[in-house]
């Protein structure tokens, strides 16, 4: 995919993908990314992977609170 076809290059599209998913790109850039994605299968793959990576990060948000740490923190709050 090159600029000669009137599309932004893959490097630019990929650079904007996460902001695109965050709805944080200006409307004109969103249009450019949309247009690029409608032609470029590789960048569609990048987009799907970015979505999956975001979901993966969000799903792993809770780490285990060990029992001893929990007890110490509760005692700390108790003694404030």
């Amino acid at each position: 995919m090159t600029e000669t076809q009137g599309l932004i290059p893959c490097s630019e599209a990929v650079r904007k993908l996460w902001d695109y998913l965050d709805n944080a790109v200006p409307p004109e850039d969103q249009e450019k990314v949309d247009k690029h994605l409608s032609f470029c299968r590789t960048c569609c793959g990048e987009l799907e992977f970015a979505k999956e990576l975001r979901a993966f990060l969000a799903s792993g948000s809770a780490l285990e609170l060990p029992v001893d740490v929990k007890a110490r923190l509760e005692r700390f709050v108790q003694e404030l």
Binding site: G45, F49, R54, A62, L63, K70, R72, L73, L80
Partner: protein, 202 residues
């Protein structure tokens, strides 16, 4: 009369403490998770300092339903102030250092799981929570914090800028570089920790 006033102050203080405890206890796992992702060592100390500051500022909590986010904001403030004390200069990642890397393309090119029909998905699911934490901890703190706050704790970029006390543009740039570095480190970690070994046996 003085004794009555003293007694009533004591009762009020106890009620305040009870209310604080009631609101804070359910939030401890989330607070500890955030602290463990922000710092390699000293997560418990970080949580305790945040709790202490939260207790002192308890009167400023307007919406009980927002206790979790209020506590996390205080914790991030403590983290930020501590980071400023510890580091004199900011370790910036150059754009050139990360821009060319794509984990998506690297996986296709190297194909570490040749029998997989869902290569990218299988790569991600090879990472347990502790592996993800380890990868995050490899990032410089200024990149790690925005990534954790945005993609794991769900804060919006403006809130992150306020919490870390940096301009919005700086947060956006650090998110971009942080994401790319995170992908690079995921790949490096998967190789170093032999995370994919034995996952492709058919």
């Amino acid at each position: 009369m003085a004794r009555a006033t003293g007694m009533s102050e004591l009762v009020t203080a106890e009620r305040t403490k009870d209310a604080f405890r009631r609101l804070v206890d359910p939030e401890l796992p989330g607070l500890y998770s955030l602290a463990r992702r922000l710092v390699r060592d000293g997560a418990e100390d970080l949580v305790q300092e945040a709790l202490l500051q939260a207790y002192r500022a308890f009167g400023t909590l307007r919406d009980e339903a927002a206790t979790g986010r209020w506590l996390k904001t205080i914790l991030v403030n403590v983290f930020r102030d501590d980071l400023r004390k510890r580091t004199r200069s900011v370790e910036e990642i150059s754009v050139e250092e990360v821009e060319g890397f794509s984990l998506y393309r690297t996986l296709i090119e190297v194909d570490p799981l040749p029998y997989s029909d869902t290569l990218h998905h299988d790569f991600l699911t090879a990472f347990g929570k502790d592996d993800v934490r380890e990868v995050l901890l490899r990032l410089p703190e200024i990149y790690r914090a925005p990534l954790v706050l945005k993609y794991m704790d769900g804060f919006v970029t403006k809130e992150i800028a306020r919490m870390l006390d940096v301009p919005l543009g700086t947060v956006l740039a650090r998110l971009h570089r942080g994401r790319k570095r995170f992908e690079q480190e995921m790949w490096a970690y998967a190789e170093e920790a032999s995370l994919l070994a034995g996952r492709d046996d058919r």
